[in-house]
Structure formats: structure tokens, C-alpha cells
Symmetry: D2
Subunit: 348 residues, 4 copies
């Protein structure tokens, strides 16, 4: 049994990690770290876990934790993982970081968009950007740090990757209009996230400044061999708990038919368990992926304007966070990649 520790276990992603890991036959959760709820019973913080998890919340001592577990998931605010990790820890334990600390290869971009000094830039290069469908080959038993991709990022990249890679679209024309359920905003007590503030409303936020923008640019840049790719990414808050929907627009770079584009998607995703390219004319809907690790993708060629509209949907807490982290763990430890993740979406 692989022994697992979670730092940040009482956030929404942390709780989702617990849910998924409870259903994983090869792991045992031995450490639930939560600075805010230290010494409290985990099932008093998340009563869904009553009678399923007996443990109390522990502190965030990564050094001690490294002695007791095989892998640490950090589901914490930006900066914490980078400030805790060191050579000794990495010699003992693998890290799957759900925060952004090791996602951006360019530390200057990290520091500019996150307005944070990076405390461990020396580990950025070795960290693998854990978008399994694209970087699977880079993950193996020797990998020490996985930078688990963001929720918006995962949806955006998987939706656009084949179009960029196969030069179907002009990458300089990409516009990503993204919509997210409210669990993406975290469990912090803020007026803006109160039920009455979010319910019955819709808004854009972080327009032109959202931190997932450079992450998408960097990864799609790799796909087209560009290090200066710029695109527009606009996130919106939706009155629902879970789910991200991305509607992406770009100019077509060549004359293509539906079949051409479908073939491009199939080239990359045909064998992927977690990516479902929908039948022609079907649009992804977040309800069809809820609770699962699936990404649903659809697209429509718009001949009147010579553009394409590509759409993707996933559950931000699963494929957008905890599920992808478990998928990465499976790769790290040589388990079946979908072990513990063969969960059918729950509807309604």
C-alpha cells in the first residue's frame, strides 16, 4: 500500500482527494494536514466522511510527513509548497503539488502573475507538468515533483491542444471564454462567495489578469513551438458547485472539414480513457462529467467567419484538481492510470 499524506486536506480539493483515495485499492491515507483545523476530527469538518475517516487534522510539517509517507499532495495556496520543499524531503518522498508553484517553467512569469517570490526555483526544471494525456511519458518512478495543472488550464489545453499541434488554428487568435462552478473559488469565508452573492448571478472576473493565462500560453506554446504565445482568457463565475466549461474561439489556419478536425482530435485522444470527444454537433455540458475524471470535448466549424468554436467541460475538483492528481500518482507508482478513477459521472 502506498502511504499518502495530504497538506491542505480541508479545502475542497483536499476533501475531493480524500473521497477519491478512499476508493483507491492501493493507497492508505495516513496524514490529513490542515493548519486551520488542527486536532479537530476530519469528519467534524467534512461530515460526508463521518464513519469513513476517523483521523484528526494534523499540522503541515512536511519534514516529519516525509518520513511517514510515500507521496505528499499539497492542496494549498500558492507559495506554500515551494517554501517547504527541500532536498532532504525530495530524497524521501514524492510531491504532487496542486498549487501553481511548479507549473510555470519561467520563474519570472510566475513571480509577475502571482506577485510572489518563488522560494524554490531550483526545482522548477525537474518538476513535470502533470497533464497526463500530453506529458505521460515524462512521468516515471524517478520523478520527484509533479506540478498538477490548474482546472481552467486543463480544460483549455485539452480542448485546444490538437488544434494547435496540428496547425488547424492560428494560435495568435485564440480567445478562451471560461465558466466555472463556485467550488473553484475555495472554502475561504468571503462575502463575494456567499450563497446570496453567487446564486442567481453571473459575472466575469480577473479579466485580462487571471493567473491561469500564462500557464495556458506556456503549454500551448510548446505545442506550436512558440515561447511568445499570447491569448485571451476570461473566467466567469457560475452559480453551481462544480464544473468548468470552456468555449474557445480561433481563426482557422487552413481549409478543414468536420472530418479533418475530428481526425486531429482522434489522433491525440482516441486511446485516452478520460477524454471523450463527443459525437458531431454535441456540445459538452458540465452535468455529464460531474464527479468523474472525464473531459468532454466538442467543436463546431463556423464557415461564415472562418473560425472554429471548440468546447470542453470537466469537473474542476476531479480532472481539474484531485482526480488528475490521483492520475499522476498512478503514473508515479506504476498503477493502472485509471485506478480509483473509473467513476461514472453522477447525474443529476
Amino acid at each position: 500500500m502506498v502511504k499518502v499524506g495530504i497538506i491542505g486536506a480541508t479545502g475542497y480539493a483536499g476533501n475531493e482527494l480524500v473521497r477519491l483515495l478512499l476508493g483507491h485499492k492501493d493507497v492508505e491515507i495516513v496524514w490529513l494536514g490542515s493548519r486551520s483545523y488542527i486536532d479537530q476530527k476530519y469528519s467534524d469538518v467534512y461530515r460526508n466522511m463521518f464513519k469513513l475517516v476517523d483521523a484528526r487534522c494534523m499540522d503541515d510539517n512536511m519534514e516529519q510527513l516525509a518520513d511517514e509517507v510515500d507521496v505528499i499532495f499539497t492542496a494549498t495556496p500558492q507559495g506554500l509548497c515551494a517554501s517547504l520543499v527541500n532536498d532532504e524531503i525530495l530524497s524521501k518522498v514524492k510531491i504532487i503539488d496542486l498549487s501553481a508553484d511548479f507549473r510555470l517553467k519561467n520563474v519570472d512569469i510566475y513571480e509577475k502573475w502571482y506577485k510572489l517570490e518563488h522560494k524554490s526555483p531550483q526545482y522548477i526544471d525537474e518538476a513535470v507538468y502533470g497533464l497526463c494525456e500530453i506529458n505521460r511519458d515524462k512521468v516515471n518512478n524517478n520523478t520527484r515533483i509533479i506540478a498538477n495543472p490548474g482546472c481552467y488550464t486543463t480544460t483549455s489545453i485539452l480542448t485546444l491542444y490538437p488544434l494547435v499541434k496540428e496547425e488547424i488554428i492560428n494560435p495568435d487568435t485564440i480567445i478562451i471564454d471560461a465558466k466555472s462552478g463556485t467550488s473553484g473559488a475555495g472554502r475561504g469565508a468571503k462575502v463575494a462567495n456567499l450563497f446570496c452573492e453567487v446564486n442567481e448571478s453571473m459575472k466575469a472576473y480577473g479579466v485580462g489578469t487571471h493567473r491561469h493565462t500564462p500557464e495556458i500560453e506556456e503549454q500551448l506554446g510548446y505545442a506550436c513551438g512558440r515561447d511568445d504565445l499570447k491569448l485571451i482568457f476570461t473566467p466567469h463565475l457560475v452559480p453551481m458547485n462544480r464544473g468548468i466549461l470552456v468555449t474557445a474561439y480561433a481563426n482557422l489556419a487552413k481549409d478543414v472539414t468536420y472530418e479533418d478536425v475530428k481526425a486531429a482530435y482522434d489522433k491525440y485522444y482516441d486511446k485516452e480513457y478520460f477524454v471523450r470527444v463527443l459525437p458531431k454537433d454535441a456540445c459538452p455540458e458540465t452535468r455529464w462529467v460531474e464527479g468523474s475524471n472525464f473531459v468532454d470535448i466538442g467543436f463546431k466549424i463556423e464557415p461564415r467567419t472562418n473560425r472554429i468554436i471548440a468546447m470542453g467541460a470537466l469537473d474542476n475538483l476531479v480532472k481539474g484538481a484531485a482526480g488528475q492528481a490521483v492520475q499522476n500518482m498512478n503514473l508515479l507508482f506504476g498503477f493502472e492510470e485509471n485506478e480509483g478513477l473509473k467513476i461514472a459521472p453522477m447525474f443529476p
Copy 2:
């Protein structure tokens, strides 16, 4: 592998059965019956099942079905199961009926409350009322028909059973105020169930006339040896997808402490996997059971009025329908009772 057929596979409970059975290691779904969507791909009706279920919807031919499967789940409107079942079918296959046809032992009460002639009264006696926690001993390999309890009923009975059985409350004073998510209203296209009609509203319905009333009365009547028990049951519609919350009130029949009542609950539920009696002063909330087969129960003695307030919460599509049906199937076929049902509740 046990071969399973579902009649009524395209209702919400049918889809939930599919979700749960996909996660059950000992069964294979071989027939998805749906009169309304016959010949359509199941995953076109419920796209959550895309790439998971390849089959097309079949008709409701129970005779043919009986030749092909080991157990039939009927998740259909009242009357259908009773009209289809016959000796030959029962000689070949087990029936787990999620409708009300075999729940009420008194056929007159069935016909009065459901305003339907019962087409197979001869099978009522042998059908086991499948509330596993209470009637587990009645289910075995020879059982031919399980009457799977209703969602409101399961919540109400499990919440009140120990109080009635242990004579803690006066059963003639029971008032059950129940609140249900909208999936309980089914997938029929009705104006009353449109998003804009249900959202941002709350209402009682079926006041004094809801069909689950006599089912609760009959079962709680068995617990106290009364065949004339009458109680009030008032259902309400809540703007949420899933979940039933029952708030039940009754006069105390004797002087009891918190510990006395807790002991009564523990006597019946301490060893039950699916019943979670919450810590003192905790109230059940539907969010903590969503997606799971758990029932959460709490209570509060109200000394000022010498009454007790007992509360129960479950997911109407799981423990209130499909989950309980799978639990019954497990009993029928000698599987572990929680096989396929060890699912942690999903939050948020």
C-alpha cells in the same frame, strides 16, 4: 456474473442504477429497457454514460427479459410491474420493484391511495418489503420479489423506527415534515418541474394525500404492533437536485435522557454500515450524504414541550431508490451487502 436487466432505465432512478451497477464487480447490465427511447443509444439519452455504456434502449418485454437475465429492476411508474409479472417470469428471474406495487400489504389501501386496480395481488404476500436494515432476515436466495421502499418512506421509517419500537414516543402523535430534492419528481416534461418554477421557491404538496403516507404507517405499525396507526406526512419540494430531509415530531411516551434515546438508536443501527447516527446536537444535512447510500440521523429532546425532534437525511436516488435496490440485490445473491455501495458522499 449476475446478469441484470432494468425496465425504466431512462428515468432518474434508472440512470442511477446504471451508475451504481457499473461500479459493482459482480454484475453485468444486459438490458436497458425504456419504452420512450427505444432503439436510441443509452448514452445519447444520458451523456454521462458516453463511452461507458454502448447499448441501445430496448422495449419492456419482461417475458423475453426473464430468459436473459437473473434479476430485473423495475424503475417504472406504479402499476407496470404488477401488470407484467406472472408465475412463469417469477420462476426464472428475481424482481426488484422500485415502484410501489408490492410495498403495501393491504391491497385495498394500495388501490385507494394509488387510485389503481392492483393487477397481481396474489404476489403481495410473498414480496419482501426491502428495507434491508429492518427486513434483512426475510431476504434470501428463495425470495422472488423485493418491494423496494420509497424515498420518503425509507427516510421516515429509519428515522423513527427505534423510537417507535422502543416505545419512546407515542406513535399517534407522529408528524413528519419532509423535504425533497427535485429529482424525486421524475424526468417527465411538466411545467411545474421546469427550472424557473422550482428554483428560488419552496412549497408543500400532496398535503394530507401523499401516497407514501400509508406505507410509513404500515411499516411503523408493525414496529408497534398496530394496524391502525395514523400519522401526518407532509412532503415539500426543494430547489436542489438530490436529497431528502425528514424532520419528525412526536410526543415522548416516557421520561428519557439523551443517552436513553441514543442507546435506542444504537441498538438497531450500531452495526449498520449505511446508517450513521450523528454526534450529539448535530443535525443531518443532505449535502453530507449526496451520491452515497448513507442515511444520517440526529435527534433533539425538547423538554419544554416534552416532545422529540428526530431528523434523517439521505440521497433519494441512492438509499431512497437505486442504492437500496442494489443493497437488496446483494442480499438476494449472497454478495456482501455493501458491495458496489462503499461510495463516499461527494461534497460539494
Copy 3:
């Protein structure tokens, strides 16, 4: 023009007061008090008021305010109004207190249930409990303090008053099961009120201990000449913004027909603009009163158990708070009682 000041203008009830008073032809809002947002533009806190309200938030200085306005609404936490008011202030200005400070005539009960020392018990007697439909005659130009009733209380009392007053029910058997939208929980930043915590869930809270209980008992006690009335009141939180639904149960005290009970309701409410007794068999639904000052009432005699189920619905921020406060203001200043309140409910 009557000059109005609001203390606590940035809570939900405060914002609703602003909305209603903007539509009132005889008043002018001259002071928007808010300790938390002092000096900020009101329309930056509540952007619905952009271009409608230009003022900035002021502090809570009631003495200064008393010099500038004719009436002060206090929409603040318990205790604040009682701690600020004094003879000089009352000599200059009328107070409509939306908190509980002057609702309970028995100060011991106040201090016990609110766990607060009452700072101005000397004014309790003169304060009029402003449930206009019942206490209209007590309000006139000399009234100095209105204790504006609570939201649960208004719904509960108006629903039950004729039944108690006309001795149709046994008041010792009253059980009130109440359901409230989340705006009733206020705008404070608490984890429990985050979107993801409230959405898709339903729970009871404050079981046996909610502070509106003694207020309902006191007022219904007056109706039946009892100072020791005890009843059960159980509030629930519903995933919707606005609306309270009360489902009340009681034993019938005499043999009555539908017409008898209807006549009792008509006796008290037939001429009331804001109370709508629904047609036979219709159940109140919160959606039909949203945004308005109406209370909708329905009832059903349950002959099997000799009980009655009485139901009431209102908008907690209007008839349950700001609307009723404006109605009281209209009485205080001799305006038409429904001036500014002839607003049709908004649906959906």
C-alpha cells in the same frame, strides 16, 4: 418629505429598505449608516444602486442622526439599538427597530434567549410590536418605538393567529416547521453560508433553541390569553435567496369544516391588503410572493388525525423585514398603509 436614516444600511435588510424607500413618494433617504463600509460609496457596496444612490456610508452616530431625520430604521445585530437609544433621541425622532431588542415584552426571556443584557429595558413597554395586521391600532403619531417583528415570527403568527384566536386549535399542540432562504442568515462572511455549503443541501438548525420561538409564543399567547404558551419551532435553511415557508401543525380543538376555518381567516384578513388567503387546496409557495409585501396563507384539515396543517409564505426581506418596516412607517406618519408597497411579486 419624511427624512429617513438607516443604521445598518449595508446588510441585506438595509439594502432592501433602500430599494423600497426609493419607490416611496413621501420619503427621502438622508443617512446610510454602516460601520463596516464607512466613507465608501453605497453603490460600490451594492452596485444595484449605481446611479440611483449617490451617498457614501456614514457612521452609526444615532445622536447626530436624530437631529437630521424624522425616523431611524435600525437594521443591525441585536443589542445595538437598545444600547444607543435614550430619552433625548426619542424626543426628536421615531425608531423602527428591525432587530429583536424591543420585540419581547418579558426582558428575562430576551436576556435568556439572546444571551445579552438588555441596555434599555425602560423602553420595552412603550415599544409597539409592529405586526400591523394585528397591532395597527396601537400605532399612531405618538408612538416612538416600533419593534419590527422577525421574519419567521411574522410568517408563523399571521398563519396561526386566527386559528388560535378563534379557538380552532389547541395551542399547546402547535408545531411550526419553517424553511427560510439564505438571505435570512445575513451578509456576514461565514463558511457555513458560502455558496457551495448551502447550495444542493437542506438542514434544520437551532433546533429547540431558535430565538424566534419565544417571540411567537408571546404573541400567540396574547391571542389566547396565555402567558405560558410553549410550542415547537424548527427553522431550516433552503438553497434559495429569499422566502420563508411555514408549515404549522396543531390538533383541532373542535369539529370544524373547511368553511368554518376559512371564515375564521376571513374574519381577520378579509380586508387586509397584504394577506392573501389562497383558494381551497392551494398551498403557499415562496415564488409567488418574492419581492412583495404579501403573505400567502393556505390550510388543510386532516380528518384522519384530527389535525390541521396551516401554511404561510412571505418574502423574508420584505414582509419579514424591510417591507413591514415601511408599512409601520406609513402608520407612524399617517400615510396610506400600502404606500410604496403596492409591488407585484416578481416571477420567476
Copy 4:
């Protein structure tokens, strides 16, 4: 008093017309037409109107209606108004058509996108496209037909008009990503609009084919003198009752500062009561306009990609339907343009 008749009074827009007209001091509703609910009390169909509207639903006889009223609102499916109207009717009564029949000046485009034969093309030219902020001068006492703009259209055009008119953006690069509450889908009983299907989900629909596309193209085309303008318009369904949010993207056509763009908006909207251009960096949110006739507009220049993101929000049933219709009525009859519409948005 202007006498008003409504055809299609039992749709959501019809009910909203009733709500608004009840608050209009110069009109009287004398005919509530509804084929589906003929002879039923209007307040039984929409109980929010109980005690406010006594009338029963009438049929759709426009000829008879023309004799009895001064203005007819048609809030019906496409095609009905065009099939009923004739010279005699137009000689007696004014028509404000909330359907699309007279919005598109090019009848071929109408017939292509709506897949309907237009029954009265002879009236298209004289019908005024009733986007009051832009076409106010075309409406006067002689106007016989107002084509009341669609909800998506109103939001999109008002958001983009100054940018197109002032040549700030390249109109060939416009991409409109729109999000709508579910009341926009109407009150028809469809599975796709059931609570459980819409709640907790988000989807695009009508991608590349939505009928509001050519309406936006035609109107923005007038603004830039182009009759071949093509743009992308993608609508999305949001789990909320009301509200439309438009996020529009376009390439900048010239070098502009925030102040330049603000000046362009101010040039057209500074004096407009119903258009609120928000402070710098503020994004429109649908919650801030709910129940009102306001449109809130914000924008952000995106220098990295040399594009602009312009956003608009309104209440689809008010400024997007009934409110704009009343605004047009006010223009037709010479009332103050905001008579009956000075309603503050309701929050939460």
C-alpha cells in the same frame, strides 16, 4: 388611460409585462390573451397575481382586440404576429411585437434563420426596431409597429454599439459569448428545461445557428455602414432564473486608452437613464440589474493581444423583453420614457 391588450400573456415575458404595467400609472390592462389557458383565471396560472389581477385569459382574436385597446403587445412564438396583423388592425391599434417577426429588415434572412415563411413582409419596412437608446427618434405617435428587440440582441448591441460606431474595433473580429438565465427558454414543458437538467450545469447551445445572430449583425452593420457584417454569437444556458451576461471580444482598430473608450461610451449613453457604464475595472454582474430595466456595461482593454473585452448585463425579461416593450410604449404614447420603469434592481 391607455388601454392595453397582451397576446401571449401566460409566457414569462407576458407575466413580466403584467407586473410592469400594474405599476404604470397611465395604463389599464384590459385583455390577457392566452390560447393555452383560455377562460382560466390569470391568477390561477400565475399566483403572484392573486388579488392583483382578477381577469380570465381570453383568446388571441386580434381583430376583436383591436377594437377594444390602444396597443397590443404580442409576446408569442415567432410567426404569430405576422400572421394576424392586417391593415384594418393597424388602422385601429398600435402593435409592440416581442417576437422576431419584424426585427430583421431582410425578409430572406428571416426566412432562412427562422425557417418560417413571413406572412406580412409588407409591414417590415415601416416597423421600427425598438432599441430605444439608438432608434428613439424613429418612434412617434404615427408609428404603428414596434419590433421589440431580443434579449441577447439588446445586450450585445448596446455593449458594442459605441465601439463599432466610433470605429474603435474591427467589426469583422467580433466574438460574442453570451450567457442567459433559463427564463429565456420559455415556459414550455420540455425535458431539457427541467430543474434537474439545468441546475448544476452549464452548456453552449445553438452554436453557429442561433437566430439572434443576424439581428445583431444587421443592427451593428447599420452602425458601421456594412450590410455584410458577420460575427460569432454563442449563447449559453446558466442555472439561474433571470439575467443575460455578454462577454464580447474584438480586435482594436486603433490605439486607444481607457479614457478614449470611456468617452465613446459616454458619448452615446451619458444621458441614458437605463444604461449604466460602470466605473473602471468593474465588471457587470446580472445580480445588480435583476428586476430592473438597466443595462450595465464595462470593458477592459487587453494590451497584450491588442483586443478589447466589452461586457454587458441586463435582465432578459425586463430590458430584454417586457421592460423594453414598456419603454417603447412610453415613446409611442408620449409618456416619460422611464414611466413605470424607475424600478431599483432587487438584490439578493
